[in-house]
Subunit: 70 residues, 6 copies
């Protein structure tokens, strides 16, 4: 009866990719823990880049600095 | 001091329905656990059908198959 | 297909009270949103008083001050 | 390796304010718990006023009543 | 930079099974979304059976009834 | 009316440290977003090392490898 919440940055993830994430994670829970897929929920939350912080700054800024070699 | 997070699929839930969910769940916590409504939060997250997986597939696909008798 | 997460403080909530919370919240979602109980999950998390902050302080301290008339 | 989820009402929070929230919370975790900012995530969820309940009613209604002196 | 929260019932899940869940889900996110495993967090929450509701009742009761052919 | 959930690894965080985290994060939300502390909740979840994955492995294993210079 698992519930899985996947938080990722919002950046043009396609319907097909979401389907693959849902299928892939469900398969892991069935294979490893013998869970019933019928009662396995996977909920994907897409988060704006400016709403996700890492290393004390926003993700888009973080990537800019990383690309600039900081 | 409860915090309740309700995740539902996004499909034209009205303002009135949300008010009824908030009132109903708050009432349950007051009645059963004697909680103070003034410090009871209910947060509703509406999730796109393609972002919610059940049985290893997306919810809209899941309903299509079910309606088709699969 | 709702998923509900209820966070409450850990303070001797009985099995019967948890059952009543689960039944009550499920009923709200069935009645207001016409959800199917078979795919409605309610997960209760019990949180230690010292892990729950309100008004900038821990819940047990918060209650002490309130009882003392602060 | 902390993960922090901040739920606030959606009401014109600016990019700069979000940056300040991310920086401020990360600083708290570094200062108090000696966490490594490189593996500290802060995720901000903005919630519509009608999706956030307090005292058994929606936040916008709650504020209206409070402003009216109820 | 994904964050994944896996909620499962607490019932003697071994360290090895948790490792397999973490590895498997991380692999899905790397393969499907090209995410960097170094900034991919998987957090597993184990929930007591009496704290998890399905179909309006607690999970242990739900299983008892199912086993009894209800 | 913010709600903040802090997930950290469980490793002897003291009551005083938790109080400092609660106070510090509340202060950030008051200062940056002008939130009312009276309706600001901070909930800390402590997660076992073997339940937290990073880079596809459990946190304790991750630290062992890092300390070994991997």
């Amino acid at each position: 009866m698992p519930y899985v919440n996947v938080k990722i940055t919002r950046e043009d993830v396609t319907r097909e990719q979401k389907a693959a994430v849902i299928e892939g994670i469900t398969d892991v829970l069935v294979r490893v823990l013998n869970k019933d897929p019928a009662t396995t929920f996977i909920v994907i939350d897409e988060v704006e880049l400016e709403n996700w912080g890492i290393a004390g700054i926003q993700t888009d800024e973080y990537r800019r600095r990383k690309a600039a070699g900081d």
